[in-house]
């Protein structure tokens, strides 16, 4: 009996002495950190610029930045690299991957390193901070946060005799304005579009303050077991959406993130919904044609009391690296979330700054006075009440759920299924996938 105790103490001793995370490591020599992100186009340069500034401030740390394709591509490459034992220290992931990644066994949650580097979570906007926390634990570092936004062509609104300062704010007003634009002789393909993406479907649930899945949207520590998006709210949304397509108010441009922008930029439509991260790009597209652009909130059914949730992505840290490298990675993600980097990022894209202090600084600079369209997204977020429904849902099989919902909407477009049938089918399949995921992740 005594011997067992001695053996136990001997076994535990090294662990107790060298428990990682207890002692802050130090960066003594040069350290190299890999950073993979999913922001293409002009954003590659923008991120490189931010990282260069970080390296200038931390001469001991070298960061290899790599654009690794879409969020999904980046995720798959990271998974493959992790299996081969060389995951990038920092990688970029979409918001809907949160629950899956937290249960992946390949990450170092932010909160596990809180002794090393103090992060003032209260400085983050509440919806941003909370979206990425599971049962209060912070897993990843907010980087690029967005919401959908309604963009409209003010010039076209003026030509059609509509109020150029009042974009439609409700489902009902959207149909009314859409019909007016249709009859205006502007030669539009249709008045309105957005890309075929489940994100809008999810956001409409939020503005209606309706749950997307059970177990409090998966927010209260238990995995969701059943989806609720085929309920009344979901049906109302898809009825409205596909109804507008049928009536020629809405142009179906298919999936992807470029067709809807192109349609808006070339004047085929007068209104588009897209991510707030497109403010910069869309302003430029319309300015090229001599048109003026306005922005408005995500429309909602008359009387709906909810608000938007955030989308976008965060930076995750993988595990299995020496402490010194993890510390360098931690410093990097923290730097990217701080004011200087966030302000630069906001101005170059339209993603909002994730910290309140950064927002204040932008205000003081007079940035919003000169660029009011950049403010709309902030206002929309700040005016959103924070409830379990507007917090956004946590689903392990979110990517699959999205694909199923999008296919369902296409089936309604094609007239193969009614709204209820299509949503019920997507729901049943998501439930099945969720059950399997839960079984494997418990």
């Amino acid at each position: 009996m005594k011997l067992n105790w001695i053996v136990l103490v001997l076994l535990l001793l090294p662990g107790m002495l060298f428990a990682s995370g207890a002692q802050e490591p130090e960066i003594t020599g040069p350290v190299t950190v890999d950073f993979w992100h999913a922001m293409g186009g002009a954003r590659i340069e923008l991120i490189q610029g931010i990282v260069d500034e970080f390296m200038a401030a931390n001469p001991n740390i070298t960061v290899n930045v790599q654009y690794t394709g879409s969020y999904n591509d980046t995720l798959n490459k990271t998974k493959a690299a992790a299996k081969a034992g060389n995951a990038p220290h920092v990688f970029h992931l979409y918001e809907i991957g949160t629950l899956g990644m937290a249960n992946s066994g390949m990450v170092t949650p932010m909160d596990d390193l809180k002794k090393w580097e103090k992060i003032d979570w209260n400085d983050f906007f509440t919806p941003v901070k909370n979206y990425y926390a599971i049962s209060g634990k912070h897993y990843s570092m907010p980087f690029n946060s967005s919401t959908p936004l309604l963009y409209y062509n003010k010039t076209f609104f003026g030509d059609a005799g509509l109020d150029t300062e009042a974009p439609p704010a409700t489902f009902e007003a959207m149909i009314e304005v859409g019909n007016k634009l249709k009859g205006s002789g502007l030669g539009l393909k249709a008045p309105l579009t957005w890309n075929l993406h489940s994100w809008y479907f999810e956001e409409f649930h939020c503005v209606m303050d309706a749950p997307f899945v059970n177990n409090d949207n998966g927010r209260k520590g238990e995995f969701p077991t059943e989806v609720l998006f085929n309920g009344e709210a979901g049906q109302k949304i898809v009825e409205w959406w596909t109804g507008m397509e049928k009536d020629g108010i809405f142009l179906d441009v298919g999936p992807g993130w470029s067709n809807h922008r192109a349609a808006f930029g070339s004047g085929e439509v007068a209104m588009v919904m897209s991510s707030t991260s497109d403010v910069n790009q869309l302003t430029g597209l319309l300015a090229d044609k001599g048109w003026e652009m306005g922005t408005g909130f995500v429309p909602r059914p008359e009387g709906a009391k909810g608000g938007v949730t955030i989308g976008g992505g965060t930076l995750w840290m993988s595990n299995g690296h020496p402490d010194e490298e993890l510390l360098a990675a931690l410093k990097l993600v923290k730097y990217i979330s701080e004011d200087d980097a966030q302000m630069k990022w906001h101005k170059g894209t339209g993603y909002f700054a994730v910290r309140k202090t950064a927002m204040k600084k932008l205000e003081e600079e007079g940035w919003f006075r000169d660029n009011p369209n950049f403010l709309t997204a902030f206002n929309q977020l700040l005016e959103s009440p924070y409830t379990v429904n507007t917090a956004g849902s946590l689903i392990g099989v979110f990517p699959e759920a999205r694909a199923l919902i999008e296919t369902g909407i296409q089936k309604v477009y094609a007239g193969d299924k009614t709204v209820k049938e299509a949503l019920d089918e997507a729901a049943a399949k998501t439930n099945e996938a969720m059950a399997e995921w839960n079984e494997l992740s418990m």
Partner: protein, 293 residues
């Protein structure tokens, strides 16, 4: 007089490198795929639950998978038939003595040099629902706006045409080579006997081309099943409403988007078996009728 190896082991030794490569890159992965297909696998691989033929049962009872199966059949049949027919016609024309033959040949072989993603992007430019050239063309000249990529049937047609176009160059090269090997004497003899152009083609050229046709049939079938992924991904992402969701794309979705490793392994195994079976059937049936010179 046939020469042969004296040593009993030498032939095996010489075959060893080939077997090594086959085992490492073909047999072992195939076996591993089959093994994985018997499990439910956690998206990040940290857990596996043995599930027997659960994944296979799920596949064969999934309406989506069966739909994808039919779509694949229709798509491949169309790509193979259309591709072989058009490229044989073009090859016949190219085999004539015409001016600037080399230029035409190079231009016609061009599409084959493009990657599927680039070909997809070209077709997307043409058929983009927002501001594609074809969309504009039809609207301007005929006053109609077909929903090229957002209508199921049209989207499948566009993808089929794109896949056929992409592989034309490959087929043309082989058919041209085949045509140049057809003995002029036989054709001349037939001419003298009074056979017209069509008859000469049907009785002499076509049978003599049959080894080439057979080879291209196999290659195009495999191409349509596996290599058309990029086109589908860029053009339609398998949509609208799964109308272009061919088996290889469904496999991509299940592995790379839905992260269902076990399920995807089962699909992969089925696809693999399918190709083996198709090749066997072709060798058994067509193979006998093929006329080798």
């Amino acid at each position: 007089m046939q020469s042969y190896f004296k040593g009993k082991w030498l032939p095996y030794l010489l075959l060893l490198p080939t077997f090594f490569i086959l085992i490492v890159f073909l047999f072992y992965p195939a076996f591993e795929t089959f093994r994985l297909s018997l499990y439910k696998v956690h998206p990040y691989g940290i857990r596996k639950i043995f599930a027997g033929f659960y994944n296979f049962r799920k596949i064969f009872t999934s309406s989506d998978y069966l739909h994808s199966f039919t779509t694949s059949l229709v798509f491949s049949a169309a790509v193979v038939v259309l591709g072989l027919f058009v490229s044989l016609m073009i090859a016949l024309l190219l085999n004539q003595k015409i001016k600037g033959q080399m230029v035409y040949r190079s231009l016609l072989i061009w599409p084959y040099a493009l990657s599927p993603a680039i070909s997809g992007a070209i077709f997307l430019f043409l058929f983009n629902p927002a501001n594609g050239y074809m969309t504009f063309f039809f609207d301007h000249f005929f006053g109609v706006e077909p929903k090229w990529l957002t209508d199921g049937t049209l989207a499948l047609i566009v993808v089929t045409v794109a896949a056929t176009w992409k592989n034309l160059g490959y087929n043309i090269i082989f058919y041209l080579a085949g045509l140049q090997n057809v003995q002029k004497e036989s054709l001349e003899a037939a001419s003298i006997d009074g056979a017209g152009a069509f008859k000469r083609f049907w009785i002499i050229t076509f049978p003599l081309l049959s080894p080439m046709t057979f080879f291209l049939l196999v290659m195009n079938l495999i191409y349509s099943y596996f290599a058309s992924f990029g086109l589908v991904d860029v053009l339609t992402s398998g949509g609208p409403a799964n109308a272009t969701n061919i088996l290889i794309y469904q496999l991509y979705r299940d592995f790379f988007i839905n992260s269902k490793t076990g399920f995807a392994a089962a699909e992969s195994f089925i696809l693999f078996s399918l190709v083996v079976v198709m090749t066997l059937i072709q060798f058994r049936t067509t193979g006998r009728k093929v006329h080798y010179q």
